[in-house]
Each structure stands twice: as C-alpha cells, then as structure tokens.
Subunit: 431 residues, 2 copies
Amino acid sequence: MQKAKARTLSGFMELLPQKQIIFNQMKDKIISVFKLNGLAPMDTPVLEYSDVLLAKAGGETEKQIYQFNKGSTDLCMRFDLTVPFAKYVSLYQNELTFPFRRYQVGKVFRGERAQKGRFREFYQCDIDIIDNEKLSLHSDAECIDILSQVYDALEQPILIKVNNRKIINGLLENFKLTEKTTEILILLDKKSKLDKELFLAEFNKITPMASEIIEILNSDTPQKLAEFNITNKTFLQGISEIQTIFKILQLLEVKNEIIFDLFTIRGLAYYTGTVFEAFLKNIPEQSSVSGGGRYDNLTESFSNKGFYGVGISIGLTRLFDLLDKNNLLEFSKTTTTTLALIPLTNIQELTNHCYGLSKQLKNNGINTEVLYFEKTFKNKLNYANKKKIPFIIVVGDDEIQNGSYSLKNMETGETVNTSLQGLIELLGGKA
Amino acid sequence: MQKAKARTLSGFMELLPQKQIIFNQMKDKIISVFKLNGLAPMDTPVLEYSDVLLAKAGGETEKQIYQFNKGSTDLCMRFDLTVPFAKYVSLYQNELTFPFRRYQVGKVFRGERAQKGRFREFYQCDIDIIDNEKLSLHSDAECIDILSQVYDALEQPILIKVNNRKIINGLLENFKLTEKTTEILILLDKKSKLDKELFLAEFNKITPMASEIIEILNSDTPQKLAEFNITNKTFLQGISEIQTIFKILQLLEVKNEIIFDLFTIRGLAYYTGTVFEAFLKNIPEQSSVSGGGRYDNLTESFSNKGFYGVGISIGLTRLFDLLDKNNLLEFSKTTTTTLALIPLTNIQELTNHCYGLSKQLKNNGINTEVLYFEKTFKNKLNYANKKKIPFIIVVGDDEIQNGSYSLKNMETGETVNTSLQGLIELLGGKA
C-alpha cells in the first residue's frame, strides 16, 4: 500500500492536547459571558451558495474565498459570521423576536497568503444586537461592556478605544471633503503604522487642511472636540451619541480602561456610528484583537427592509496565538481532562472495587480515569506523570478493609489517607 | 443594488434559537461525559490536503467528498473525524502519551444526494482510545460504558448490540468461506432491512451452508455459541473477548440494556474485533444512532507503525433530527439564554439602580438581560412573553426605598417581593 505523507495545511491551527485544553477553556469562558448576558445561540452552515455569501463582497474579500463547484452548485466556505447572519435574519425575520440578540462561535475560512499571525481557518466569536426599528444607544454600550466582560473572564486586561463614525463624516462635510472620505479613512486607519511625519505628509497630499483636521482629531475627550465650535449636524450627533454611551458605560461600571480616540476607524466596512477596538495591555505594540460597531441595513444585500444593529467580533484563534507566543497562557497543568487516576491491579476483587469507586467519583462530577493497562505500577506512575494527571488514588487490600484510600497529589508528592467522602471533598466534587 | 435571494443549502441544518439552545445543550452534555471520563480534546482543521484525507478512501466515499483546488493545492473538506485523527497521531506520535484517549466534536461534510434524514453537513462526536502496543479489552468495555453514559445524560434509553468480528471471521474460516467474506458481511449488515425469507434466499445464493450458519449466528449468548463446538482459533478468541468485555461491563454497572448480537456488523469499515451499535428504545424501528468498535493499524495510510484502537462515533445532527421529528425533545422553555429580564424605565435614578442590579445578578452567575428599548411596559411584557423569558424583575421607586424587588414568574404569573439575596436564591445563583 502506498503511504501518504501525514501533514497539516499551513495557516491551519492544530494543537496538542495540553494547548487544546486551554484553547477550549477560553472558548467556553467567552460563551459563558455571552450566555450570562442573555444572548441566543446561532450556528449557520460552513458552506453557503456563493451568490448569498458574495452578494456584498468586494475584490479583496473575493480573492481570499474558498469557492468551488459541486455538481452544478456554486459554493463558498464562509469567510465571516456577519454575512451568514444577514442571510439568517432575512430568512427567518418573521419567526424571530426583535430586538434579536445573538452570539455565534465558529470557524471561518480565508485562503489568503500565509503570513505571520494570519490564519486561513480561525474561530470567530461574534455577538449582534439588532432591531427592525431604531436601536437604543444602550445596545452600543452593552456591546462594549460585554467585550470588557469577555476579557475579564479571560483575565487579560484591555484598553478599549471608542469612536463614532458620524464625527469624522460630519467633519469631512464641514470641510467639504466628502468626496475624499475613502482616502482619508484609509489613511486614518493605518495611522498607527506610520510615523508622525509620514502620516502628515500623506494627509497633506489629500488636503491642505490636513494639519487643522489632525488637531481636531487629536481631541481626547468629546468635550474638547465640542470646543472647536463646529456646527455640522452629523458631527454634533456623533459627539452626543458618544457622550450618551460613555454615561451608560459609567453606570455599567466597566472594569477595563475605555478611551475616546478619533483615529479608531475599524476599516472601511459597513459601520455607520459607534466603532470600538480592544488592545491587550500586556502586548501593547499589537494591533487590535477584537472590536465592533454599529451598522445600518444589515440585510441590504437581500431585501429593502433594513435592520439596525451593533456587534462585536473576537478573533479567538489569533488571540490565542498572540497570548501563547507572548507566554501569557498557563500550560503547566495537564494534558488530559482527567483529575483523578485509579490504577488497576491484576486482583479481581480490587478491580471490582476500583470500578465502583470510579463510578461514584464520576457521579459526583469528578473527572476520573481507570488505568487498566497491563503495566507495572512504575509504568503507571510514569503515565500519570507524563500526562500531568493531578491525582492518583491507590486502592489496595488495606484500603478496602479500612474503607480508606490513598490520595497522592502528583505535583507535591504528598499522600493523604481518606474516606470516599473525603476523596469527593478533596477533589472538589459537586455533592 | 441587485438583491440576492436569502436561502440555505438543502441538507444543511440551520435552527431557530429555541431549537439551537436544545441542540447546544445536547452537545454540551456529550462533551461533559467525555471529560468526566478523562478524554483529551482535539480539534483538527475542516480542510486537509486531498491525498491525506483520501489515502484510504474508496469509490463511494470519494464521490461524496467536497474536493477542490485553491491555487495549485488540492483540498478536501473532512468527511469524518477518523482520517484526520489518523493523520494527527502519525504527525504528533512522539509528543503524545500512550494510551492516548481523545474526543473530538466537529462538523464533517458529505456531498451526497439529499434524502430524508441525511445531512451534508453534520456534527460527529467521536472518542478513541489508542495505544502503540496491544490495547486492553477494558478499553472496549470502557467505550461501550461511555456510550451508555452519553445516552443517560441525554435521558434517552438505548439498546446496545455488541458483536466481535473475529467470531464471524473464524466461522467463515471454519466453513472455508473466507473468499466470500465481503459478500456475506454485506448481506449480514443489511439483514434488518430484508424479510426473513429473502435474507435466507440471498444467503443461499452465496453458500449452500446458509441455514447452518444462520442457526449458529442466531445464538443470543456467547455460551450458546460455544455449544456448537467449533474449534477455529479466531472464532474461539472472538468468543473469549466478548465474554471478557461482558464481565467488565457488569462491573461497570452499565445502565442501558446490552445484548449479544451476531448480526451487528457495522459496515465494511476497518473493524477487526469488538463492534457495537446503539438503538434508541423510544424509536425502535430506526437504524442505529451511534456505534463503534476496535480497529488495528489506525495509521496504515501514513506509516508502517500501527496503532491499536477502539472508538465511538455519535452522529449528533441526525440524532437531534430524529428526536425532534419524533417529538422526543422538550422545546417549550425559552428562545434565549436569558433567565431574568429587568425592564428599564425612563427615570435616570432607576436606570442606575437597574444596571447595578443586573451586574450583581451576573456576578452570581444568573443570566440577566436589561431591556432598555424605548417601549411601553406592555410592549416589554410582550417581548418577554414572545421570547419565553422565565422571569421579569420590576424595579420601581418603592422597590428602591424598601430594598425589595418584584419577581414575576412569566409561566405561572405569580409575583413575589424579595430582597437582592432572595432574588439570587430564587434564580439559583451560585453564591
């Protein structure tokens, strides 16, 4: 038989159990925060009709997409969770209750050039709050609060930069630069990657008012911004909205630092009001690890009826990779989900007892493994050590007669003798 | 702008929140059982090199596969979790500890013809226990036990049929029918779909010893089978193995009914010893909903070094669909993860208080939603009713002054007045 070479595609994360356990814990923590805030789960297919996914996609997106035919059907693998969400809302709008609050955690696929820190398959963790009529600004604040809660749960402090697109749009209206919006947004979006003088030079190429605009954009509070006495309505509405959101965020006692930053643009995507991005405080030089914002007309590719929404997107795979590479994850503990290992001996009576014990521990919610492999006790200890199983329970004749067990802590080497009830308590059982 | 028609591919399950919540609960329960038994998590990519996935695939499998080129790379979407597992073990064998015990829950893809109860995208929940030397029969028993625990957790009683391929292989050696193994296995595998006489007629076409073999295969205990005094070694080893496994299953006090059934074949796949299949007792006419068995040489497509293993596969999407169609799922409860809804009024002081309250409830693990949409109180009640949110908490001036809240049970209509501590207790908070 000819052998294939076992290998994994580059740009596709594949972890050993020790890291996979931590990855899954992060995923579970994120989902717990979403549920704690009363969001409904969604799970759309990985594959969709190409015309559905590409209805709104531009050139760059389309190049990255995994698109192919099966029979006569033109298919795409999803490249985000937003377009499938728009499809879902269009399709089931009569069966959903609005405001509709959802979360979705799933893999998305982008066949882009492999480069450092970029993945072709990655988990996105999205939430959206949408309504078929005007959506309260409380929703914007709630999304920022939930984003902050997520990073609290992950024990990673963040800095959240908040902006409102209406401010920059109004400003460009005021300076009669509306036609140059795209150019200017692209430049602002990459400001952090340019040095100060290059940024100014590039801006000057677009408009002679560059310095003046930059001075305005340097305002670090809505109050300072208001002092420029610009009377454009969109501009003023942007300021008013962001002030309202900051007030609500205060009520919500958000733990992470939140600042007002007029250079936060969040790409050229569909955002129309609030935009925000999160930065890891422990890795300050990195670009944003998650963000979101407000959009109008979610379903415009599918129908004339619009939906107003605000959402968050967290790129979990990239976040995990970043934290891992910066040694911000704790991997020391174990490579299995087993908490307690019970090694069997060859004596039938003891075997019976061990199985009974494992059953009782499992009934009390304690992750338990019986090690029945025909190996020496030393080999068994070795297995426990290699897998970093936290506890071993030794069952011998003495133990059965006395109704007591030896519980060995594999990290400290300490052994205690205790009853079944004692085991359950020491191992943190639910009973 | 031209509109696309919002639609989902047929054969791809997409659920409304009310059903998605139940689906996810089932998935979570299965994963909990896997963890309780100390299995390590795995998560391999959806996409792999085609030569990796197809190294062992036969004609029928290949036709179903989503295969395509991206640039010059020939890619496949995974059609099961076993081939990626074999790749994973080949690739990381020096970093894994054996016996290696894993679980994986993920979507797999088969572009087969759409037909009732068949999905093109579906979740598989797999476990495997493998070793690089001979694997104890305890592992076979453990897999059957874990399968039983899964259905206990799902509160769906099952019948588990257990067989051992060595018995039928030895029997065919004994009758000098080895060359007809494939034909006979295919026939046995579809016995339940044929009427008795047709089955016999088909068997007679293959061999004149059909009746004699059927009489032997009708043995419903290993003891009865032994009485035929067949001395073929493989046959006797099969009986001995199954007797050992039944003994261990007794020790494990498996709750579901387990029977010995020589017609359980589990297709033509790679099984070499124990095979088993589970049938829902509440839907007896259905074919099996999960199963598994023992295999040798997991990694033979990739290397000469073999791995011995035994595993389970549960087709969660099909299982959910079956239970749903047979009204065996309880959907009445809610369409959100929200347990308690706090409607805001327009009074600032109350708003502050409501946000504080929601924070305290969330800190106690209670899924809470603040309803801040500018609607009448009647509209807010309506929202809670449509989403089937179990509880509403009313916060008014009186409530703030007395430090007491009105908790309305939306199902019974009952209202109680209670303190913050009372709310936490009534809503099952973790504190």
